[in-house]
C-alpha cells in the first residue's frame, strides 16, 4: 500500500489538466480528495507509531546496485507525511481560489501534485538512493513551480537560482549518502542509523557530515545559502505557502533529524548545527524586519524558523529534540496559515505592502480571525502551541551550560522577539488601524482562500490546548526517531503551566521586546535598510558574481579548447591518440613480435591497390570534390574486402554509408567558400604528413599485434549457437543488433537521431542569423 500511496500524486498530477478541463472551475475540490485520503491513510499509522512501532515497506528496484524502493514509517516520517498531505489538501483547494480562471491552472496542479508525491517520497524513503531520487524530484518540481510565471525574468532567475543551490546541495548529499553506504555496508538508512559507532569510527566521518549537511543546509536555506528562499517568493502564493514554508524547505531539517541517530553526537555535528542554525535564525529574523512585502517578511521569518530548527536539533536529546519537534509543528501550522492569508489579502486588495494596508478586519473578518490566531501562535501566547514551543526552546538553550547556554539563550530571545515583530507586521498592520486606499476594493476572500488558514490556525490552538495528545501522538514518537530510542514520559513531557520558572520569565521578556520592536518598526526598518545599503553586498549578489565568474571561466576555457578550426581538433585528436597508443605499446606491450607475410590473393591485391591509390590521390589533389571522390574509392575498396572475407552485411552497409557520405560531403563542400587561406602552406603540409604517417604506423602496429594473438572466440561461438534457438534468426549480425545487444543499438540510434537534430538546428541557426534574425522577433 505504501508505494501506491507515495506515487499516487504523480499519477493524479499526470491527468490533472484533463480533470480540470472535464470538471471545470471546481476541479480543486475533486483533486483535493487525494491528499485528504492520503492524510487519513497516514493518520491510521498514528496509534502504532505512538507506541514506538515502526513500519517498513520494500520493493525491489535496482537489485544489482542495492537500490530498493523501501519506505519507512516512524514518528519523524509520519509527522512530516501528515503535514505534507494535510497542508497539501488545503493548498490544492486554495489554488482553486487563488488561480481561479488562470488558463494554465491544470499545469499548476501537475507540478503541485508531483511535488507533493516527491516530498512524501523524501520523508518516507528508507533507501538512501530512493531518498536522493525523491530529493532531486522536489528540487525539480520546485523549479517548475517557482518559474510558473515564466514570462517574467525575475521568476526565471529565482527558479534557476533555487535549482542551482538546492540541486548543487543535492549532489553533495548524494556523495555523502554513498560514503555512508560504503562505510556502513548498507544503503538502508534505518540500518545505517543503528550503527553510529561504525560511522563515527570511519576516517570518512568528517567528509560524510560535511557533505550531508551541505545538502541539508542548501535545501533548508541556512546562512549563507538562504538567499534563494526569499527570491522564490516570485512563485504564486500557494507555492510559497506549501513548498517554501511548511514542506520542501523542511526537507533539510528532516534530513538532519533523520541522520541524528547515526551521525549526531560528535562535536563537529553539534557545532555545525548550532552555529549555522543560530546565525541563520538571527539573520533571517533581522532581515525580515526590513521588508515591505508581506510574503518577503514571512519568507525571512521562515529562514529564521529553519535556523531555529537546525539549532534545536543540534542541541540534541532530549530537550533539543523536544523543542525541535514542538517548533516544527508550530511553525508549519502558523506559517502555512499566514502565507495563505497574506495571499488572500493580496488577492482581495491588489497589494502586499504592509505600509499600504490597514483596517481590513472589517472587510475580511474570517481571514482576519485566522491570521490573528496564527499570529498569536507565532508570538508564543498562551495557550497556543507556539507558547509551549517557546518554553521548551528556552529550556533547551538554558540547559547547555553557563557560557554557551547564556549566549544561545540571548540569541534565541532576540530571534523570537524579532519574530514577534514580524508577526505584528503581518497580522496587525493589514487588519488594524485606519482603512487605506488599495488598488482593489477588498471583500471577504472566497471560501477556498480562508478554509486552509482557518483550519491550520485552529489546529495551532488545539495542539496547544490538547497538549497531552500532541505529545503522545506526535512529538514523543518524533523524538524517538531522532534519538534512536523512544523517550520516557518525563523527557517528552509537554506542559502549558510549569510554575514560575525562568523560561516563563524569558517568554514574558521576549513578548515585551517584541511589542517594543513592533512599536518602533518603522524606525528599525529604515535603519536596517540604511545599514544594508552601506554594506552594499549580500549573498544574493554573491550568487550573481559566482555565476558570472563561472561563465567567464567557461568562456575562456572554450576559447582555448574550441578554436572552431576542424584541423585543430583533428591534430589534437590524432596526436593524442598516437601518443597514448605508442605509450601503451611501450609500457604494457602487445606490439607485434615478428612479421609474417600473409598469402594475399590477386583480388585482394586489387582492392588494396585501389585503397592506396585513393588515399594517395586524396592527399595530392587540390580540388575538394576530387579529394572526396578519392576518399570514396578507399571506402568502396574496404567494402570489397568485406565481400571477399564473407561479411556481406558489413560490405552492404559500407557501400551505403560510403555513397551517402560522398553525397553529403559534396553538398557541404559546395557551400563552403574556397578561400585561398584554406589551402595549406608547405609547413602545414609537412606537419599533417607527419601526423598521418604516425597514426598509420601506430594502427598498423596494433593490428599486427592483434593478429598475432589468439582470437577469443567464446562470444562468437555463443552467438552462433544461440542465434537460432533463442532469437529465431540465422543472420547473427542482425540478431546481435536487434536482440542480443539491442540496448547498445538503442543507444546508437539515439545518437543518430541527435546527430540529425543537431544538423537541423545548426543549419537553421546559421540561416536565421544570416537573415538578420531580428525579423522573427528575438535575435540570436
Amino acid at each position: 500500500m505504501m508505494l501506491p500511496a507515495v506515487i499516487s500524486g504523480f499519477a493524479l498530477g499526470a491527468v490533472a489538466p484533463w480533470v480540470v478541463r472535464a470538471v471545470g472551475a471546481r476541479a480543486h475540490w475533486l483533486l483535493a480528495v487525494l491528499p485528504a485520503v492520503l492524510f487519513v491513510y497516514f493518520a491510521g499509522f498514528l496509534p502504532g507509531v505512538a507506541e514506538g512501532q515502526v513500519y517498513r515497506f520494500a520493493t525491489e528496484w535496482v537489485p544489482g546496485l542495492g537500490v530498493t524502493l523501501s519506505f519507512y514509517v516512524d514518528g519523524l516520517a509520519l509527522l512530516f507525511a501528515l503535514l505534507i498531505s494535510g497542508i497539501g489538501t488545503f493548498i490544492v483547494i486554495y489554488t482553486g481560489g487563488y488561480l481561479h480562471g488562470h488558463e494554465q491552472i491544470g499545469r499548476f496542479y501537475v507540478y503541485l501534485l508531483s511535488f507533493m508525491a516527491s516530498m512524501l517520497g523524501v520523508v518516507l524513503a528508507d533507501n538512501a538512493i530512493t531518498l536522493f531520487v525523491f530529493w532531486e524530484l522536489t528540487s525539480l518540481t520546485s523549479f517548475l513551480l517557482i518559474g510558473f510565471n515564466h514570462e517574467e525574468s525575475r521568476s526565471r532567475r529565482a527558479a534557476v537560482q533555487a535549482l542551482i543551490v538546492t540541486g548543487g546541495g543535492g549532489l553533495a548529499l548524494l556523495a555523502g549518502l554513498l560514503l555512508m553506504g560504503a562505510v556502513g555496508g548498507t544503503l538502508e538508512i534505518s540500518e545505517l542509523m543503528t550503527q553510529p559507532e561504525v560511522l563515527h569510527g570511519s576516517p570518512l566521518y568528517t567528509a560524510m557530515v560535511i557533505l550531508v549537511l551541505a545538502g541539508a543546509f542548501s535545501k533548508s536555506a541556512q546562512f549563507p545559502l538562504h538567499f534563494w528562499l526569499p527570491n522564490a517568493m516570485e512563485a504564486p502564493t500557494p507555492v510559497s505557502a506549501y513548498l517554501h514554508s511548511s514542506t520542501m524547505v523542511k526537507a533539510g531539517v528532516y534530513l538532519v533529524a533523520r541522520m541524528s541517530p547515526g551521525l549526531g553526537g560528535s562535536e563537529l555535528w553539534f557545532y555545525a548545527l548550532v552555529i549555522f542554525g543560530a546565525v541563520t535564525m538571527l539573520t533571517g529574523a533581522l532581515l525580515a524586519l526590513r521588508q515591505t512585502d508581506l510574503k518577503l517578511v514571512l519568507a525571512y521569518t521562515t529562514v529564521a524558523g529553519l535556523g531555529t530548527l537546525v539549532m534545536l536539533i543540534g542541541l540534541s536529546a532530549p530537550l533539543g529534540y523536544k523543542a525541535a519537534a514542538v517548533f516544527l509543528i508550530t511553525h508549519a501550522l502558523y506559517k502555512g496559515c499566514l502565507f495563505m492569508s497574506a495571499g488572500a489579502v493580496d488577492h482581495e486588495t491588489g497589494t502586499r505592502n504592509p505600509l499600504e494596508l490597514g483596517g481590513l478586519r472589517g472587510a475580511m473578518p474570517i481571514t482576519f480571525a485566522a491570521a490573528a490566531l496564527a499570529g498569536l501562535s507565532m508570538s508564543g501566547i498562551v495557550p497556543f502551541i507556539g507558547f509551549i514551543g517557546k518554553e521548551v526552546m528556552y529550556e533547551a538553550t538554558l540547559h547547555l551550560g553557563p557560557v554557551g547556554g547564556v549566549v544561545l539563550t540571548i540569541a534565541t530571545i532576540a530571534g523570537n522577539a524579532l519574530t514577534i515583530v514580524a508577526a505584528g507586521v503581518v497580522v496587525l498592520r493589514p487588519f488594524f488601524g485606519e482603512r487605506r486606499k488599495t488598488p482593489k476594493h477588498p471583500h471577504e476572500a472566497p471560501v477556498e482562500l480562508y478554509l486552509g488558514p482557518c483550519v491550520l490556525a485552529g489546529l495551532g490552538l488545539l495542539a496547544g490546548i490538547a497538549y497531552p495528545l500532541t505529545q503522545d501522538s506526535l512529538t514523543a514518537p518524533m523524538m524517538g526517531s531522532m534519538a534512536g530510542t523512544m523517550p520516557d514520559h518525563r523527557a517528552a513531557e509537554l506542559y502549558l503551566w510549569h510554575g514560575l520558572k525562568l523560561p516563563l520569565f524569558l517568554s514574558l521578556l521576549t513578548l515585551g521586546l517584541g511589542i517594543a520592536g513592533y512599536v518602533y518598526w518603522d524606525r528599525i526598518r529604515e535603519s536596517l535598510a540604511a545599514t544594508l545599503r552601506a554594506i552594499g553586498w549580500g549573498p544574493d549578489l554573491g550568487y550573481d558574481q559566482v555565476i558570472a565568474g563561472v561563465e567567464w571561466l567557461s568562456f575562456r576555457q572554450v576559447r582555448v579548447q574550441q578554436t572552431g578550426y576542424l584541423r585543430h581538433y583533428l591534430i589534437v585528436t590524432f596526436t593524442v591518440f598516437a601518443a597514448f597508443v605508442v605509450w601503451t605499446l611501450m609500457t604494457v606491450g602487445g606490439g607485434p613480435s615478428a612479421f609474417e607475410m600473409p598469402a594475399v590473393r590477386l583480388t585482394e591485391w586489387v582492392a588494396l591497390g585501389l585503397m592506396v591509390m585513393g588515399a594517395g590521390a586524396a592527399t595530392l589533389v587540390y580540388s575538394r570534390i576530387a579529394a572526396i571522390a578519392a576518399i570514396g574509392v578507399v571506402g568502396y575498396a574496404v567494402a570489397l574486402i568485406f565481400v571477399m572475407f564473407s561479411a556481406p552485411d558489413l560490405a552492404f552497409t559500407q557501400f551505403m554509408v560510403e555513397t551517402l557520405t560522398v553525397v553529403i560531403l559534396v553538398l557541404v563542400l559546395m557551400r563552403v567558400p574556397l578561400e585561398v587561406r584554406a589551402f595549406r602552406g608547405l609547413g602545414a603540409r609537412i606537419r599533417d604528413a607527419v601526423i598521418s604517417i604516425a597514426v598509420g604506423v601506430v594502427f598498423t602496429l596494433v593490428l599486427m599485434g592483434v593478429v598475432q594473438g589468439d582470437l577469443d572466440l567464446r562470444l562468437s561461438e555463443y552467438f552462433a549457437e544461440t542465434s537460432v534457438p533463442v532469437a529465431h534468426g540465422h543472420n547473427i549480425v542482425n540478431v546481435i543488433l536487434v536482440d542480443f545487444r539491442a540496448l547498445d543499438t538503442l543507444g546508437e540510434i539515439f545518437v543518430v537521431t541527435v546527430a540529425g537534430l543537431s544538423t537541423f538546428a545548426l543549419v537553421r541557426l546559421a540561416l536565421f542569423k544570416r537573415k538578420g534574425g531580428a525579423g522573427e522577433g528575438g535575435g540570436a
Binding site: P648, D649, F652, T653, M656, V657, T659, L660, V663, I664, L667, V668, M670, R671, A727, H728, G729, H730, N731, V733, N734, V735, L737, V738, D739, A742, L743, T745, L746, I749, F750, V752, T753, A755, G756, L757, T759, F760, V763, R764, A766, L767
Partner: protein
C-alpha cells in the same frame, strides 16, 4: 538538376529502391540485411530524389517532417523493449509470436522486428534530415 533522363529514372528507381529497402529490412533476421542497411538504402532513394527535383519537392514527397520519422523510429524501438515488462523479463528481451496460419508461409511477429523497424525509421529520418538541410543551406 534539370535532366529529363535523371527525372524519369528517379521516378522509376525511387519506388523500386524503397520497396527493396523494405525487403532488405524484413529479411535481415535471416539473410544479410536489416533495419540499418534498409534505412540507408531508403535514405539514398530520397537523397536521389532531392538531387533530381530539389529539396523542397523531396520534403513534399515525404509528407511528414523528416525528423518526425526519426522520432517515430526511436519511439518504436524504445516501446518494443517495454513489452517484455508485461512478461516479467528485463527491458528489451525479445518476445516472439508465431501464429499458426494454415498457409505455407511462416509469419513471425516479434519485438525485435518492431525494434528493427524503429532502427530503419531512425536511420531514414536522420540521414534525410542531414542531407536535405545541407542541400537547402544555400538559400
Amino acid at each position: 538538376m534539370n535532366s529529363v533522363i535523371l527525372h524519369t529514372a528517379t521516378r522509376l528507381l525511387m519506388s523500386l529502391i524503397l520497396m527493396f529497402s523494405v525487403y532488405i529490412m524484413f529479411r535481415g533476421h535471416n539473410e544479410p540485411g536489416g533495419g540499418f542497411i534498409g534505412g540507408l538504402i531508403a535514405a539514398s532513394a530520397i537523397v536521389l530524389y532531392s538531387a533530381a527535383f530539389g529539396a523542397t519537392w523531396a520534403r513534399q514527397a515525404l509528407r511528414v517532417p523528416s525528423m518526425s520519422i526519426a522520432g517515430c523510429g526511436l519511439f518504436f524501438a524504445a516501446i518494443s523493449g517495454v513489452f517484455s515488462a508485461f512478461a516479467g523479463s528485463p527491458f528489451l528481451t525479445g518476445l516472439w509470436w508465431i501464429p499458426h496460419l494454415n498457409i505455407e508461409v511462416h509469419l513471425a511477429l516479434s519485438t525485435p522486428l518492431l525494434f528493427d523497424i524503429g532502427v530503419y525509421l531512425v536511420v531514414i529520418g536522420a540521414i534525410v534530415t542531414i542531407a536535405l538541410e545541407m542541400e537547402e543551406a544555400e538559400d
